[in-house]
Symmetry: C3
Subunit: 404 residues, 3 copies
């Protein structure tokens, strides 16, 4: 087996491939966002909440660390990444998974002309899951096929998790975004609190409902190259009555990809494109209609020389937040950003960080809980998590806040 043996499989439709990456309704590998069903997303969000709540106490943290203390992970991140890498490290550590890493793209074995698949199979000899970001396009997917093939031969095989690679998707970023949206639209800012804040809002915004359904989502910035946006809109299309606004400069590289657009339209999503945060729809500023604003950074590092000069010529002020613009937004509408943000362009200036709607740092922290939930699912210890959770809250004489 080598990479070329898997090439023909790469071009098949996502739904067909998704079947190969699951087993008895459970994910075996996590390669692209389309593998997440609405039902699975709901489950993972509940589990992420449970892990977060257990982590508040020393006892709960120590219990969680025993959950997967017999597992060892390989974080194979040969494409630079700090945030996703550290978030996965922390997620593993929360569950007691021992972490190992290979980050140098020029490992000694490659210099000795080892094939990439041999390297992956070496990792699978020593470790129990491979979380990866590689420069090779579609490499995570090929690794998943290799593992499936080994399983078929009754040889050792481990789960592959795509940490976001090349022009690929970034499924776990989409998962954490959904989790952040889900959590925000519960409107309970304190744990186990009655939903008082939601009831207040309900009186002011009579159309408002709980959860990600029936909301207007706006994406602003570099929508063409952000695999984050691509993965997230796939997941949002699973929810009911979502409206998507895409706000990007008039430049082919930065605008929403036509394929993505076509897929969304086909999925029946109500979508609109704008060239400024100040655009209006039927005379109403879109800023006043948005339930959730997702900002992104212009990915300068991927510019070609020509793009560089073209993009430098654009007026990016239309795609930057200001305190004035934020003031016009709904009082509950979260502002998200996959981070890092650009400290020169300042698509989100730091003075907005203090606004209660600035959710981007919590969003980062949510990544840790969401990824931990995903690992609990992959290693099939969901029941153990529920047991821990029920016991923790029974012991304290409190009603268990999250029923099964």
């Amino acid at each position: 087996m080598d990479l070329t043996d898997f090439e023909w499989r790469l071009t098949r439709p996502a739904r067909m491939k998704a079947n190969e990456f699951e087993r008895e309704g459970r994910l075996k590998h996590v390669i692209f966002a389309q593998q997440f069903t609405r039902q699975l997303l709901d489950k993972l969000c509940v589990m992420a909440d449970m892990i977060r709540e257990l982590s508040r106490s020393k006892q709960g943290s120590d219990d969680l660390r025993r959950l997967l203390s017999h597992k060892r992970a390989m974080l194979y991140f040969t494409q630079p990444s700090t945030r996703t890498f550290l978030s996965f490290m922390a997620a593993c550590q929360i569950l007691g998974i021992t972490c190992n890493e290979v980050r140098d793209p020029s490992t000694s074995s490659e210099m000795k002309r080892e094939s990439p698949l041999d390297s992956i199979r070496m990792f699978s000899s020593y470790f129990d899951v491979i979380i990866m970001r590689s420069k090779l396009p579609d490499f995570a997917e090929c690794c998943a096929y290799l593992m499936n093939e080994l399983e078929r031969q009754e040889r050792r095989s481990v789960p592959i998790v795509n940490g976001g690679a090349g022009t690929d998707q970034h499924p776990t970023q989409a998962l954490l975004d959904i989790y952040t949206i889900q959590r925000t639209f519960q409107f309970d800012h304190r744990e186990h609190a009655p939903r008082s804040r939601f009831h207040d809002l309900r009186r002011r915004y009579t159309d408002l409902s709980l959860g990600p359904d029936r909301k207007v989502y706006a994406f602003c910035g570099d929508l063409g190259r952000g695999r984050t946006v691509r993965s997230l809109v796939e997941l949002l299309s699973l929810f009911e009555d979502v409206t998507l606004y895409f706000i990007a400069p008039e430049h082919e590289t930065l605008k929403l990809d036509v394929d993505v657009r076509a897929r969304l339209v086909k999925a029946g999503v109500d979508l609109h494109e704008f060239d400024s945060l100040d655009a209006t729809i039927d005379g109403v500023p879109i800023l006043e209609k948005i339930d959730c604003l997702y900002m992104t950074r212009i990915q300068r590092e991927h510019n070609s020389a020509q793009q560089e000069s073209e993009i430098a010529a654009l007026d990016l002020s239309h795609f930057r937040l200001t305190t004035d613009r934020v003031a016009r937004m709904k009082s509950y509408a979260p502002i998200l950003h996959p981070f890092p943000r650009d400290s020169v362009v300042q698509e989100i200036p730091t003075e907005i960080d203090q606004d209660p709607r600035a959710m981007y740092f919590r969003q980062a922290r949510n990544g840790m809980w969401a990824r931990a939930a995903l690992l609990v699912h992959l290693f099939d210890v969901v029941d153990d998590l529920y047991l821990l959770y029920d016991r923790a809250f029974k012991e304290h004489g409190e009603p268990s806040p999250r029923g099964r």
Copy 2:
């Protein structure tokens, strides 16, 4: 908030700043040596001893590893460091803290123009303490202000520990030096042994007292650039009747900083400057008067071109130990060195390593215990440590060697 918002705070006197870095008499962040009071130093030394003694047995080690097993640390060391980095790693590991590291100064996020404070806030999203050494001057202090600001906003905030940066201080090195001095001047070389060795010495050296007070400390070598010396003399000035000798070449770069000198004089410290280890005072060689000798390396890597040639012209033989010089020292006087030592200049030749007064390798190991004690203090589990310790020694039917 960005770095410029904190600039005005940096120039305030240390005592004023120290208040912001503590809470109810306990340190919140560790930024400079002046934060340590005499009382706190005494406490930390006792705790370091307890951790060291517990570590001797498997049971004690395993108990210690449960103390902070629910915490995750970020060691952000973008300025090269092996010794301090590994010492902090080991200290964390002794207490069960899970370690994560970022050591590459050009992380991907910085290439994407993320601001340094955004990086720190990302770390604080995933981890429970940030131990750092950065090239940016005063950056650790700014990070502490950021965390205080976040705390004020009721957002997530974690302790910042300065691992020694730029021209800044190196507070934890000073702490471990004090711990080594404190321990050496107990003169009990075996655990729980009656102080027989001290009583022997007491007969020979009638002026000798226990502990760091009432001693003569000599510092030799590169006193101008060693942040280690700067931090340590701050702490020594907290003890009673200390006399400080500074032995450095006649070169502005290498001599004691005039500001530090002025501060010490103001604090009532008796200090003397010399240009050779063979200098005398009232006809008596200083080597015979010294109770503790602190050697340092000439920090060539910080030389400018001009300094390089000037320093090359100096006769450094006056600032090097030899077996002859050591032979003239008091039989109990410890020789310390913050390490690494220079194997070319040989300010301490290896033949001295076998002398019982050579304490520099124990000093390194002490860094691990002292830093662990500091983490126990920062995370407010001092009572748990005492509990462990009392239980360990009661279980063995021995009297607890360290009372509270």
Copy 3:
């Protein structure tokens, strides 16, 4: 002490040196393969099996992780290595040993002119074992002498493990190879299964015996530079009636070293040299006689310019496996390779991976178990391992598969 103080010791015979690296019949340091006696190899193989079997259950894994949870390891790998490094990491993690690493050859301390022995002694201050691969020839051996010297002075001393360096030996690779051979020649492919497969084979191959004794081993490829081969043949010579075939191109650099050859002949080993996998002996193809085939990669990265062109001129097809060649081998004969393999030369093409005789990936995984067994031996917790093992199998009401 510095490196030159140890030079005279390096040239003494291995047996004389081996004494210094053991204590009361137990290894104190692991420097070269000759330290392993036949009896110790047998013990380590049993222990590796026990660790493997315990690791199958969560309970067993968690028990193992408590065995050495009070120890911290330094993996000092300044010579590039992925496989050996990760295998040692995994071995440590299985036993609960906390891992630390230094991999950058230009550490900050070296830039500050710290001597290599000072670095090692710093590591020994913080950590409980040093596992190392360095570019300095014989450096691991010198470090072992340093530790012995410190022990003599009643100072802190820790075990040194040679992770395979320069032209040195690679003792733990040899250990894992022996373990793989030992395991393969038990012919029990399922755990605790009656030896049905062996009895089948016994009928077909009437000469076949259990274990590594009385077998024909063939080594093929770059036999001159592979420290793996050098270390392994040392160990094989400890077994009874082994025959060794060496199959290498007619080139001085690639052929078996004359010293090794002489030593084997002196040890009474029956050895034969060939220039092709298709060679015959008394008219019978050697492929049909081999009980175990050990393939190796031509180590191009060590070629000088002259060797490069000379070796490029060789016909390497005689030293490559093909499905045809494998078809002629005995149905039970394992194919081993220390890996990585060369994906360009393809000494083992990937189509052979599916053959049941392809053992090279299991061999890699065996490295983890064998190294864990070695650490159990070094830290003298063999009895604790047996206790764990007996308890695990008694609890399940099964007879303990490995008696003491």
